[in-house]
């Protein structure tokens, strides 16, 4: 707080808050990415009966930092035939919507970086933008694998946004609000128990939306080499990684807010509870990734359109019906 007062002298109250907020959020998100990549390697390692990274730092804690430094020092290549502007802009754009969404999630009882009564709608709208940058990356690389990856990504994200939206909608019906703080505060019982179907659909949907296995077909390594980011190197490649893991945290935190009671919990501060719940959701995603094979593209699409969406719609209808009778 003393820092805020000191800064306020030069920048004014709003300026100081903005600066601290931006530095805090960006700093935490960077830490989060480094932590999540380390966690992923550890989870993968232990699932595969090996310890994971152990050499750099205690239990390999500095491994991802070292990797980040390595990526920073790498040459940035641009294919000759690439669409230059789009190619360079895509890794920057991929990060922006995620960052905006991060500022909308209530991290504790009273704190949100941007408080909006219709927060959920804004989040859903913004998270759809990510796919545009992925398609930009795939298209502008002028690489057949990248184009295939980009095309798959668009189809996939459109297909899986709908079940996520419908799952959130059934929560909104129960909570009678689009304000995430009201939704979180209103949960005497976590909505995961009241809306188990919606919770499962949400988990499947966000796994697909973050392009993670078993739904990682846009980057399907064994088929498309690197998918949409085949041609990217160095820090530009790292930006896609950054976006993916930040997106995981954001969607995990959103899931925690919608289904697990957000910041609420005994003893520990609210922010810690929110992060714990978010990381629990993320752990589930990692567990799935290191256990299942990848779906085929057409199977993925028919799974979304023929199974998830009808179930989600039915869930919304039943929820509305039950609530109509009860209220």
């Amino acid at each position: 707080m003393w820092l805020q007062h000191a800064l306020a002298r030069f920048l004014g109250t709003f300026g100081a808050q903005l600066l601290l907020g931006v530095v805090g959020v960006m700093g935490y998100l960077t830490f989060n990415v480094l932590f999540l990549i380390w966690l992923e390697r550890k989870v993968a390692g232990h699932i595969q009966r090996r310890p994971g990274p152990m050499e750099v730092g205690p239990h390999g804690a500095w491994q991802t930092v070292a990797d980040m430094l390595k990526l920073l020092s790498k040459q940035l290549l641009t294919p000759v035939a690439a669409d230059r502007f789009t190619y360079l802009f895509a890794p920057i754009l991929v990060f922006l919507p995620t960052l905006c969404v991060a500022s909308l999630i209530p991290i504790a009882d009273v704190q949100t970086f941007a408080d909006m009564p219709n927060g959920l709608i804004v989040i859903v709208a913004l998270s759809g933008v990510t796919v545009i940058s992925i398609f930009m990356a795939g298209w502008s690389s002028n690489n057949k694998y990248a184009v295939l990856g980009g095309m798959r990504s668009v189809a996939q994200v459109i297909a899986y946004e709908i079940p996520v939206l419908l799952a959130a909608l059934s929560v909104v019906l129960v909570a009678q609000s689009l304000d995430l703080r009201v939704i979180a505060a209103g949960q005497k019982v976590p909505y995961a128990l009241l809306q188990p179907v919606a919770a499962v659909i949400y988990l499947i949907g966000i796994t697909a939306e973050t392009n993670r296995a078993p739904f990682d077909i846009p980057e399907a390594e064994s088929e498309l080499v690197g998918g949409f980011h085949t041609e990217y190197s160095g820090m530009r490649f790292a930006m896609f990684f950054f976006a993916e893991y930040t997106n995981m945290l954001v969607l995990g935190a959103l899931g925690a807010t919608l289904f697990l009671g957000g910041w609420k919990g005994p003893l520990l501060p609210g922010t810690v509870w929110l992060l714990l719940k978010a990381y629990a959701v993320i752990f589930l995603m990692m567990w799935a990734r290191w256990t299942f094979p990848r779906l085929r593209f057409d199977q993925l699409m028919s799974f979304a359109w023929k199974l998830l969406i009808p179930i989600a719609l039915l869930n919304v209808a039943v929820t509305a019906l039950v609530l109509g009778v009860v209220r």
Binding site: A81, L148, A220, L224, T291, P293, R296
Partner: protein, 376 residues
């Protein structure tokens, strides 16, 4: 920039070069795919990136000098290839092999077959996007490699066959260590079944994909687990028994479907049959010399009588044949190797059209090609 280039491709299809550098073309295979969207219109395999002229090399060295080359054709079942060359030469020269060596060859070959299949399961699942089984299989395979290393001194490119026996005897402790490895493998079968075979995503990816009919297999000369996955119970070990194989009881697992799942299932069952053979062989392992007392060893030059000799064995990938043409000298006039992966790969240009790109990887993985063995 690309718009200046003249294009001869029709507008609704495009060509995709899968390989020779690609994560799932298993070495240096290049698949030339013509695609419409994600659907394959034509598929051609381009081979020859790993050509080392093994057949020509055989003409320029003595029979014993060629021994190290054998296991470098198929580095995953090198033991079987090594013994095949040795047995072909023995048959031609009329060298008698002691019982102990014959049984020991079966044990080592079957362990080698299991390790090859284990690697295949891991790599195949990796192609399907599941990285975890790979490391499980690797762990089991490591135990086998360790055991084989203790006998032969090498981990992959074995050169333990000698005309008339083996270079080293199995030590007294070998049966115990072999049984330990077998016990470890057997404890894992059910785990693999639960992790892989029972997985609904795996079943959906593998069932009904890459259909290979019985007639296609036979007309292309497909052999090995790929053929047995299409319902033909052909196994050289049963069809033309060699070595000590007639003494042991084992079945030939087959499945009529001819899809990717059938080929997976056949290999998994084959590992169990190999274990069955190993257990019987360990039981019956006779005492005595490991190499014929009158063996001339590798230093002296062996002369084969004039003639032609064909000798076939069942490698982990199928029917492996050796044709030696001798003019009576210390070197073969001609050596021809019939390697199983070559026809197994050739048939794919008939199977792949109509499938998705993702299936191309699955089908390619399912026939288990080893490129150095095709190119030789």
């Amino acid at each position: 920039m690309t718009t200046d280039l003249p294009t001869t491709e029709p507008l609704d299809t495009y060509t995709l070069n899968m390989g020779p550098q690609h994560p799932s073309t298993h070495g240096v295979l290049r698949m030339l795919l013509t695609l419409r969207g994600e659907q394959i219109v034509t598929a051609d395999a381009v081979i020859g990136y790993s050509h080392r002229a093994h057949e020509k090399m055989a003409e320029n060295r003595t029979y014993a000098q060629f021994l190290p080359n054998t296991s470098r054709q198929d580095y995953l079942s090198g033991m079987i290839y090594n013994f095949a060359w040795v047995e072909a030469v023995e048959k031609m020269a009329g060298i008698a092999v002691p019982d102990r060596a014959l049984v020991a060859r079966v044990i080592l070959s079957e362990f080698n077959r299991i390790s090859s299949h284990l690697l295949w399961i891991g790599a195949f699942l990796l192609d399907l996007g599941a990285p975890t089984p790979f490391l499980y299989c690797w762990d089991d395979r490591e135990a086998i490699l360790f055991l084989l290393e203790s006998v032969t001194g090498s981990r992959l490119t074995y050169c333990t066959g000698r005309f008339g026996g083996l270079s080293k005897d199995l030590d007294e402790d070998f049966p115990r260590r072999a049984r330990e490895v077998v016990a470890k493998l057997k404890a894992r079968w059910d785990e693999y079944d639960r992790l892989i075979e029972d997985n609904v995503i795996f079943r959906n990816r593998a069932r009904g994909v890459g259909l290979l009919s019985r007639d296609q297999c036979l007309s292309f000369g497909v052999t090995g687990p790929t053929l047995r996955g299409s319902g033909v119970a052909y196994d050289v070990r049963k069809a033309e028994p060699y070595g000590a194989y007639p003494r042991f009881e084992f079945d030939i697992p087959t499945r009529p479907e001819g899809d990717v799942f059938a080929r997976y299932w056949v290999r998994v069952q084959e590992m169990r049959q190999s274990v069955r053979i190993i257990e019987q062989a360990l039981e019956q392992l006779p005492a005595g010399p490991i190499i014929a007392p009158d063996s001339i060893g590798v230093k002296k030059r062996l002369k084969l009588p004039v003639g032609t000799q064909y000798y076939a064995v069942e490698s982990a990938r199928g029917h492996y044949g050796i044709l030696i043409v001798s003019e009576g000298g210390t070197e073969p006039y001609r050596a021809k190797f019939r390697t199983p992966s070559y026809p197994n790969l050739a048939v794919l240009s008939e199977v792949l059209p109509g499938n998705m790109v993702a299936d191309a990887v699955a089908v390619l993985g399912s026939v288990d090609v080893v490129m150095p063995e095709i190119d030789r």
